[in-house]
Protein backbone atom coordinates (compact mmCIF):
# COMPACT_ATOMS: atom_id res chain seq x y z
CA UNK A 1 0.00 0.00 0.00
CA UNK A 2 1.46 3.35 -1.00
CA UNK A 3 1.52 6.29 1.37
CA UNK A 4 -0.72 8.18 -1.01
CA UNK A 5 -3.28 5.39 -1.07
CA UNK A 6 -3.34 5.18 2.74
CA UNK A 7 -3.83 8.90 3.04
CA UNK A 8 -6.41 9.24 0.35
CA UNK A 9 -8.63 6.17 0.49
CA UNK A 10 -11.54 8.16 -0.95
CA UNK A 11 -9.86 8.35 -4.32
CA UNK A 12 -9.31 4.62 -4.47
CA UNK A 13 -12.71 3.49 -3.04
CA UNK A 14 -13.80 2.53 -6.53
CA UNK A 15 -11.00 -0.02 -6.63
CA UNK A 16 -11.81 -1.72 -3.34
CA UNK A 17 -13.56 -4.64 -5.00
CA UNK A 18 -10.56 -5.26 -7.25
CA UNK A 19 -7.89 -4.64 -4.63
CA UNK A 20 -9.42 -6.25 -1.57
CA UNK A 21 -12.59 -8.04 -2.72
CA UNK A 22 -10.98 -11.46 -2.76
CA UNK A 23 -9.45 -11.14 0.73
CA UNK A 24 -12.66 -9.77 2.22
CA UNK A 25 -14.77 -12.46 0.57
CA UNK A 26 -12.53 -15.30 1.80
CA UNK A 27 -12.52 -13.81 5.26
CA UNK A 28 -16.32 -13.56 5.33
CA UNK A 29 -16.76 -17.03 3.86
CA UNK A 30 -14.51 -18.63 6.46
CA UNK A 31 -16.69 -17.11 9.18
CA UNK A 32 -20.21 -17.62 7.84
CA UNK A 33 -19.72 -20.58 5.49
CA UNK A 34 -22.35 -19.33 3.02
CA UNK A 35 -21.08 -17.87 -0.29
CA UNK A 36 -24.19 -15.72 -0.89
CA UNK A 37 -24.16 -14.33 2.60
CA UNK A 38 -20.39 -13.74 2.47
CA UNK A 39 -20.88 -11.72 -0.72
CA UNK A 40 -23.66 -9.72 0.91
CA UNK A 41 -21.52 -8.93 3.98
CA UNK A 42 -18.67 -7.75 1.76
CA UNK A 43 -21.07 -5.44 -0.11
CA UNK A 44 -22.31 -4.06 3.20
CA UNK A 45 -18.69 -3.51 4.21
CA UNK A 46 -18.01 -1.40 1.10
CA UNK A 47 -21.08 0.72 1.79
CA UNK A 48 -20.21 1.19 5.46
CA UNK A 49 -16.63 1.97 4.42
CA UNK A 50 -17.74 4.66 1.96
CA UNK A 51 -19.99 6.20 4.62
CA UNK A 52 -17.19 6.16 7.18
CA UNK A 53 -14.44 7.46 4.88
CA UNK A 54 -14.34 10.79 6.68
CA UNK A 55 -13.54 9.01 9.94
CA UNK A 56 -10.70 7.02 8.42
CA UNK A 57 -7.56 8.48 9.93
CA UNK A 58 -5.10 6.64 7.72
CA UNK A 59 -3.38 5.08 10.74
CA UNK A 60 -3.76 1.61 9.25
CA UNK A 61 -3.79 0.11 5.77
CA UNK A 62 -7.14 0.39 3.97
CA UNK A 63 -7.38 -3.41 3.85
CA UNK A 64 -7.03 -3.76 7.64
CA UNK A 65 -9.56 -1.00 8.10
CA UNK A 66 -12.06 -2.72 5.76
CA UNK A 67 -11.51 -6.08 7.47
CA UNK A 68 -12.25 -4.35 10.79
CA UNK A 69 -15.58 -3.14 9.36
CA UNK A 70 -16.28 -6.60 7.95
CA UNK A 71 -15.72 -8.13 11.41
CA UNK A 72 -18.45 -5.91 12.79
CA UNK A 73 -20.76 -6.90 9.94
CA UNK A 74 -20.11 -10.59 10.68
CA UNK A 75 -20.74 -10.08 14.40
CA UNK A 76 -23.96 -8.17 13.56
CA UNK A 77 -25.08 -11.10 11.44
CA UNK A 78 -24.57 -13.61 14.25
CA UNK A 79 -26.21 -11.28 16.75
CA UNK A 80 -29.28 -10.92 14.53
CA UNK A 81 -29.32 -14.68 14.11
CA UNK A 82 -29.09 -15.35 17.82
CA UNK A 83 -31.92 -12.92 18.51
CA UNK A 84 -34.10 -14.60 15.92
CA UNK A 85 -33.40 -17.99 17.43
CA UNK A 86 -32.50 -17.39 21.07
CA UNK A 87 -30.76 -20.19 22.86
CA UNK A 88 -33.22 -21.60 25.33
CA UNK A 89 -32.82 -24.05 28.18
CA UNK A 90 -33.86 -27.04 26.07
CA UNK A 91 -31.13 -26.23 23.55
CA UNK A 92 -28.58 -26.09 26.33
CA UNK A 93 -29.87 -29.39 27.70
CA UNK A 94 -29.52 -30.94 24.24
CA UNK A 95 -25.94 -29.72 24.05
CA UNK A 96 -25.14 -31.22 27.44
CA UNK A 97 -26.85 -34.50 26.43
CA UNK A 98 -24.70 -34.68 23.28
CA UNK A 99 -21.56 -34.24 25.34
CA UNK A 100 -22.76 -36.92 27.76
CA UNK A 101 -22.92 -39.45 24.93
CA UNK A 102 -19.12 -39.60 24.81
CA UNK A 103 -18.97 -41.07 28.33
CA UNK A 104 -20.38 -43.96 30.34
CA UNK A 105 -22.36 -43.38 33.51
CA UNK A 106 -19.16 -43.18 35.55
CA UNK A 107 -17.83 -40.42 33.30
CA UNK A 108 -15.19 -42.59 31.57
CA UNK A 109 -14.60 -42.40 27.81
CA UNK A 110 -16.82 -44.72 25.76
CA UNK A 111 -14.54 -44.20 22.77
CA UNK A 112 -11.21 -42.78 23.97
CA UNK A 113 -9.41 -40.28 21.72
CA UNK A 114 -7.23 -42.10 19.18
CA UNK A 115 -3.59 -41.36 18.46
CA UNK A 116 -3.62 -39.21 15.29
CA UNK A 117 -1.17 -39.90 12.48
CA UNK A 118 0.12 -36.30 12.43
CA UNK A 119 3.34 -34.42 13.06
CA UNK A 120 2.32 -31.02 14.46
CA UNK A 121 5.60 -29.45 13.38
CA UNK A 122 5.16 -30.36 9.69
CA UNK A 123 4.05 -27.09 8.03
CA UNK A 124 2.62 -28.66 4.88
CA UNK A 125 0.69 -31.17 6.91
CA UNK A 126 -0.65 -28.39 9.12
CA UNK A 127 -2.00 -26.63 6.04
CA UNK A 128 -3.68 -29.82 4.84
CA UNK A 129 -5.18 -30.50 8.25
CA UNK A 130 -6.27 -26.85 8.38
CA UNK A 131 -8.30 -27.48 5.21
CA UNK A 132 -9.91 -30.58 6.75
CA UNK A 133 -10.65 -28.57 9.87
CA UNK A 134 -12.39 -25.91 7.74
CA UNK A 135 -14.73 -28.61 6.40
CA UNK A 136 -15.44 -29.75 9.95
CA UNK A 137 -16.17 -26.16 11.05
CA UNK A 138 -18.50 -25.76 8.05
CA UNK A 139 -20.34 -28.88 9.19
CA UNK A 140 -21.16 -27.47 12.65
CA UNK A 141 -24.73 -26.29 13.27
CA UNK A 142 -24.95 -22.64 12.26
CA UNK A 143 -25.10 -21.03 15.68
CA UNK A 144 -22.32 -23.21 17.01
CA UNK A 145 -20.19 -22.39 13.97
CA UNK A 146 -20.76 -18.67 14.48
CA UNK A 147 -19.80 -18.93 18.12
CA UNK A 148 -16.74 -21.07 17.38
CA UNK A 149 -15.50 -18.68 14.68
CA UNK A 150 -15.92 -15.67 16.93
CA UNK A 151 -14.05 -17.30 19.81
CA UNK A 152 -11.38 -19.66 18.43
CA UNK A 153 -10.90 -18.32 14.88
CA UNK A 154 -11.31 -14.58 15.52
CA UNK A 155 -10.09 -14.74 19.10
CA UNK A 156 -12.90 -12.55 20.47
CA UNK A 157 -13.22 -12.52 24.27
CA UNK A 158 -16.01 -14.49 25.95
CA UNK A 159 -17.31 -11.23 27.40
CA UNK A 160 -17.50 -9.60 24.00
CA UNK A 161 -19.31 -12.64 22.56
CA UNK A 162 -21.85 -12.61 25.42
CA UNK A 163 -22.61 -8.99 24.59
CA UNK A 164 -22.76 -9.56 20.83
CA UNK A 165 -24.90 -12.70 20.97
CA UNK A 166 -26.86 -11.81 24.06
CA UNK A 167 -26.16 -15.11 25.82
CA UNK A 168 -24.70 -15.95 29.23
CA UNK A 169 -21.08 -16.82 29.88
CA UNK A 170 -22.06 -20.31 31.04
CA UNK A 171 -23.84 -20.91 27.75
CA UNK A 172 -20.76 -19.81 25.83
CA UNK A 173 -18.57 -22.21 27.84
CA UNK A 174 -20.90 -25.17 27.33
CA UNK A 175 -21.37 -24.45 23.62
CA UNK A 176 -17.63 -23.99 23.11
CA UNK A 177 -16.95 -27.31 24.82
CA UNK A 178 -19.46 -28.95 22.51
CA UNK A 179 -18.00 -27.25 19.41
CA UNK A 180 -14.42 -28.23 20.30
CA UNK A 181 -15.44 -31.80 21.12
CA UNK A 182 -17.42 -32.07 17.89
CA UNK A 183 -14.50 -30.73 15.84
CA UNK A 184 -12.11 -33.12 17.56
CA UNK A 185 -14.34 -36.09 16.69
CA UNK A 186 -14.86 -34.85 13.13
CA UNK A 187 -11.14 -34.36 12.55
CA UNK A 188 -10.36 -37.71 14.11
CA UNK A 189 -12.85 -39.50 11.82
CA UNK A 190 -11.41 -37.82 8.74
CA UNK A 191 -7.78 -38.36 9.74
CA UNK A 192 -8.23 -41.99 10.70
CA UNK A 193 -10.24 -42.67 7.52
CA UNK A 194 -7.41 -41.41 5.41
CA UNK A 195 -4.87 -43.49 7.27
Amino acid sequence: MSREETERPKLSAKNWAVDYGDSLYRYALSSVGDPGLAEELVQETYLAGIEALDKFKGNSAVKSWLIGILKHKIADHFRRKSRLVPMDESELERTVAELDRNFDNKGSWLKPPAVWPVSPEDELERKQIGEILKDCIDGLPEKLRGLYCMRDVEGMSTKEICKQMDISQTNVWVMMHRARSALRSCLENKLMDGK
Binding site: S23, S30, L99, G107, P113, D152, L183, R184
Partner: protein
Protein backbone atom coordinates in the same frame (compact mmCIF):
# COMPACT_ATOMS: atom_id res chain seq x y z
CA UNK B 1 -9.88 -38.41 47.03
CA UNK B 2 -11.22 -34.86 46.83
CA UNK B 3 -9.19 -33.98 43.74
CA UNK B 4 -10.25 -37.09 41.84
CA UNK B 5 -12.40 -36.22 38.83
CA UNK B 6 -13.86 -38.24 35.94
CA UNK B 7 -12.72 -38.07 32.31
CA UNK B 8 -15.96 -36.27 31.50
CA UNK B 9 -15.20 -33.55 34.05
CA UNK B 10 -11.54 -33.41 32.98
CA UNK B 11 -12.51 -32.85 29.33
CA UNK B 12 -14.92 -30.09 30.41
CA UNK B 13 -12.19 -28.40 32.43
CA UNK B 14 -9.70 -28.63 29.55
CA UNK B 15 -12.11 -26.68 27.36
CA UNK B 16 -13.14 -24.31 30.16
CA UNK B 17 -9.50 -23.42 30.83
CA UNK B 18 -9.38 -21.97 27.32
CA UNK B 19 -12.18 -19.53 28.13
CA UNK B 20 -11.68 -18.58 31.76
CA UNK B 21 -9.30 -19.01 34.65
CA UNK B 22 -9.92 -22.22 36.59
CA UNK B 23 -10.22 -22.20 40.37
CA UNK B 24 -7.29 -23.55 42.37
CA UNK B 25 -9.13 -26.80 43.08
CA UNK B 26 -10.09 -27.22 39.42
CA UNK B 27 -6.49 -26.64 38.33
CA UNK B 28 -5.08 -29.16 40.81
CA UNK B 29 -7.76 -31.76 39.99
CA UNK B 30 -7.18 -31.38 36.26
CA UNK B 31 -3.41 -31.56 36.56
CA UNK B 32 -3.67 -34.64 38.73
CA UNK B 33 -6.12 -36.32 36.35
CA UNK B 34 -4.02 -35.51 33.25
CA UNK B 35 -0.93 -36.96 34.92
CA UNK B 36 -2.76 -40.28 35.32
CA UNK B 37 -4.99 -40.49 32.24
CA UNK B 38 -3.44 -40.85 28.79
CA UNK B 39 -6.83 -40.54 27.06
CA UNK B 40 -7.58 -37.15 28.57
CA UNK B 41 -4.01 -36.04 27.99
CA UNK B 42 -4.53 -36.95 24.35
CA UNK B 43 -7.86 -35.07 24.30
CA UNK B 44 -6.20 -31.97 25.77
CA UNK B 45 -3.35 -32.13 23.26
CA UNK B 46 -5.78 -32.52 20.36
CA UNK B 47 -8.13 -29.69 21.23
CA UNK B 48 -5.16 -27.40 21.84
CA UNK B 49 -3.87 -28.33 18.38
CA UNK B 50 -7.31 -27.65 16.86
CA UNK B 51 -7.47 -24.28 18.58
CA UNK B 52 -4.03 -23.35 17.33
CA UNK B 53 -4.94 -24.36 13.76
CA UNK B 54 -8.24 -22.44 14.02
CA UNK B 55 -6.40 -19.26 14.93
CA UNK B 56 -4.33 -19.66 11.79
CA UNK B 57 -7.44 -19.98 9.60
CA UNK B 58 -8.04 -16.32 10.26
CA UNK B 59 -6.80 -14.31 7.32
CA UNK B 60 -3.91 -12.15 8.29
CA UNK B 61 -4.64 -8.81 6.58
CA UNK B 62 -0.94 -8.19 6.07
CA UNK B 63 -0.54 -11.49 4.23
CA UNK B 64 -3.81 -11.72 2.32
CA UNK B 65 -3.73 -10.78 -1.38
Amino acid sequence: MFISISCKEASRLVSLSMDTELSFLQRVSLKFHLSMCKHCKQFARQINYIRELSGQLKIDPSKAN
